[in-house]
């Protein structure tokens, strides 16, 4: 067994209530490593095409990586994969926190779950022992209550719990999974897959440290990075402002997504800035496992009619915008309350905000009326209405039932041209970064295997100038020349091919994007050295980039099997139009023809057919995926 791994992959069949342990050979680990690459291996081998995502046949896979749980900084993350009930494509979401490291210490490199239990259950894994326990008494409970009950009944305060709330149980198609009440596998509706299996939670507890090849070296690099984190302005910005630090530049420039993307200009933007946040609702900050950055916000509100419990963390940038300006809401206290509700119910805050904003626009355009909304005045800016709608979605009541299926489904049902008010890629609502000021983000929205996502690559702004951190620190990948954030030419396409693969490697290895270049201080060389010192493998960035590329091709083939084509690699129409209002008024439209050329070039750079976007047999052979060639010959 290679260092860094436990050598054990846990398989659980909830239908038969059986479990068994697989001990893969070293070549398996060195080919698929962990995270999404490992998960896709099982999804492609064990799932039939066109499996209903909410059926027992969908696999639900929890996978940290070989370096998860080492003491090195900012490596706490783990992946959950399944076929997504929101998109119908490969579904994937990474979360930080403490659960991933604890699973490794409990003796497992991954959990592969199939089947469905007839009654609610939870998995309890402690130091290699696995139990399927009754969860009937937990079903219907919110996340805070569930955590409290499980900790009491197991008499262990050190357990780590990944779980779903009522939205997951009720199969809301953008329900997520949470660990420790505030670290989310968000997006893609993986919480609904967990709900369909009647799996309320996975509780882990482990006491065995990860076996490292060179513990002293890992410790030395940890000290070096940690020391630099304290002084580095980017890391300090994350610690002191958190991700809400993105609000001010976006609002002042007029590209803060507002009023369901009808404008980037939000007059009350000052109310949402990190500075206002810090002065009004911030209680403190928290860190994930072994992370010195401490970017996580904790908020508390204690007002007679509005209370927010700090146990649920605090809104990130995406949430501040998706439950704020995108719904025309500028009251941070209500946004914090909405965030708390989403966290208790386990609903993705981006999709929740986007479906509510969509409904608000439909209401204002008279496509929905008070009868449809159950008497709610669902206008932009109505913060009480937003809170009510969140609850209705989680429990699938009235209009909430329709919205719980995602904006694509809801628009089709509403008809009357409502589809022009949705903004999505592959069925997933777009995040809160505007590609008109960062075209590479747009490329990633379009090409992401799991629908629009803002964490598919580092953003364009880190590569805009010769002095930019991305240009200075990523020469090992051949990133040598700056490209303007709004350029959509050949150099941008080539750059984002590399950045896509680079951050895919991060996802596979459970690396936090905020810990290493270009977003923070850990260097590429240091990360490589951590991997080498953990595993004993003399790996290189060449091997790691091939690993990333391998998983991208596996996901591409999974989606091809499900019927996705190049027509699904698109951007919402709004980005082909100029900004309306604010400092960028009349500017910004991405040229559609240029964008389509960029997508085609990206296919070619990836070794995919330029017309269809399907990986070529030669590319699959290069990546050791010859076992998938028959899939592309169909």
């Amino acid at each position: 067994m290679p260092y860094g791994y436990t050598g054990n992959i846990l398989h659980v069949d909830l239908s038969s209530r059986k479990h068994w342990i697989e001990n893969p050979p070293e070549t398996f680990y060195r080919t698929y490593w962990g995270g999404r690459a490992l998960a896709l291996y099982y999804m492609l081998n064990q799932m039939k095409p066109h499996t209903d995502p909410l059926s027992p046949d969908n696999l639900l896979i929890f996978a940290p990586s070989v370096i998860t749980g080492t003491p090195a900084p900012a490596l706490p993350r783990y992946t959950v994969c399944a076929k997504s009930p929101l998109t119908g494509a490969q579904g994937e979401a990474e979360a930080g926190g403490w659960w991933g490291p604890e699973l490794k210490k409990a003796g497992f490199d991954a959990i592969v779950i199939k089947g469905s239990s007839p009654t609610p259950v939870y998995l309890y894994i402690k130091d290699g022992k696995v139990e399927i326990k009754d969860a009937t008494h937990l079903w219907g409970k919110d996340t805070g209550t569930t955590q409290k009950i499980i900790k009491e009944e197991l008499s262990d305060d050190k357990i780590k719990i990944a779980q779903i709330g009522p939205a997951g149980e009720n199969l809301v198609r953008f329900a997520n999974i949470v660990n420790e009440l505030k670290h989310f596998n968000g997006r893609n509706g993986l919480g609904a897959v967990m709900g369909s299996k009647k799996l309320k939670a996975i509780v882990v507890r482990g006491t065995k440290p990860i076996d490292l090849y060179n513990k002293e070296r890992v410790s030395q690099i940890t000290k070096e990075i940690t020391k630099r984190v304290m002084d580095n302005p980017l890391s300090r910005g994350l610690r002191e402002l958190g991700t809400p630090g993105v609000v001010r530049p976006s609002y002042e420039a007029g590209c803060l997504p507002s009023y369901n993307w009808t404008t980037g200009y939000f007059k009350e933007g000052e109310n949402l800035t990190a500075e206002t946040y810090n002065k009004t609702i911030l209680k403190g900050t928290k860190a994930c496992y072994a992370c010195p950055i401490r970017c996580k916000r904790v908020v508390e509100i204690n007002e007679p009619n509005l209370k927010v419990d700090p146990a649920y963390g605090g809104p990130e940038y995406e949430t501040t915008t998706s439950l704020g300006s995108i719904c025309g809401i500028s009251d941070l206290k209500y946004i914090a309350k909405a965030n708390e509700l989403c966290n208790k119910f386990t609903m993705d805050t981006i999709s929740t905000g986007m479906v509510i904003a969509f409904a608000m626009q439909c209401y204002e355009e008279e496509m929905l009326n008070k009868e449809d909304t159950g008497g709610i005045e669902l206008t932009f800016g109505n913060k009480e209405a937003m809170l009510k709608m969140i609850e209705k979605i989680a429990y699938r009541k009235g209009l909430g039932d329709l919205l719980s299926q995602g904006s694509c489904f809801a628009a089709k049902k509403i008809g009357k041209g409502a589809e022009k008010f949705i903004h999505q890629v592959k069925g997933q609502e777009i995040p809160m970064h505007d590609p008109r000021v960062k075209t590479g983000v747009g490329l990633q929205y379009a090409l992401s295997d799991y629908g629009a996502d803002h964490m598919k690559a580092a953003h364009d702004s880190f590569f805009k100038d010769q002095d930019s951190v991305g240009i200075k620190e990523m020469k090992d990948l051949g990133v040598l020349e700056p490209v303007s954030p709004t350029d959509i030419g050949e150099k941008k396409v080539a750059l984002f091919k590399l950045l896509d693969i680079y951050w895919t490697v991060f996802d596979i290895l459970g690396v936090c994007d905020f810990g290493y270049v270009p977003r923070s201080v850990g260097t590429m060389e240091e990360l490589l050295e951590i991997i080498r010192s953990t595993t004993g493998w003399e790996t290189t960035w060449f091997e790691l980039m091939k690993l990333g590329e391998r998983s991208i091709n596996m996901a591409r083939i999974f989606n091809y099997r499900e019927g996705f084509t190049s027509k699904d690699d698109t951007l919402p129409e709004v980005f082909y139009q100029n900004f309306k209002g604010g400092p960028l008024d009349g500017q910004g439209a991405i040229n559609k023809e240029d964008f389509q050329k960029a997508i085609r070039l990206r296919y070619e750079l990836m070794g995919w057919d330029p017309d269809t976007g399907i990986p070529t047999p030669a590319k699959l052979i290069e990546l050791g995926l010859d076992w998938l060639i028959d899939e592309v010959k169909r």
Binding site: V441, H454, F462, K464, D465, Q466, I471, K472, F514
Partner: protein
């Protein structure tokens, strides 16, 4: 003419002061102002003066306040 520079976001932590003032006797570009203030273009995403977002080649002909916003990424 006086050009007042206000640094936002993490730029406040990178440079010694979050407000800088420079004096010029003739029109000056943003590029030259940043160079004189020893602020790296690689750190700056948006440059705002008044209600306008401007590029590095924007020419100031009278006193003004310039806000500099840092590069931003996902999160």
């Amino acid at each position: 003419m006086k050009i007042s520079i206000k640094l936002e976001g993490y730029l406040k932590y990178k440079y010694p002061s979050d407000i800088l003032e420079l004096n010029y006797s003739e029109p000056v570009t943003v590029y030259k102002i940043l160079k004189d203030a020893k602020i790296s273009l690689g750190d700056v995403f948006f440059i705002k003066t008044g209600d306008k977002i401007v590029k590095e080649d924007y020419l100031f002909t009278e006193s003004a306040e310039v806000k500099l916003f840092p590069i931003i990424g996902g999160g």
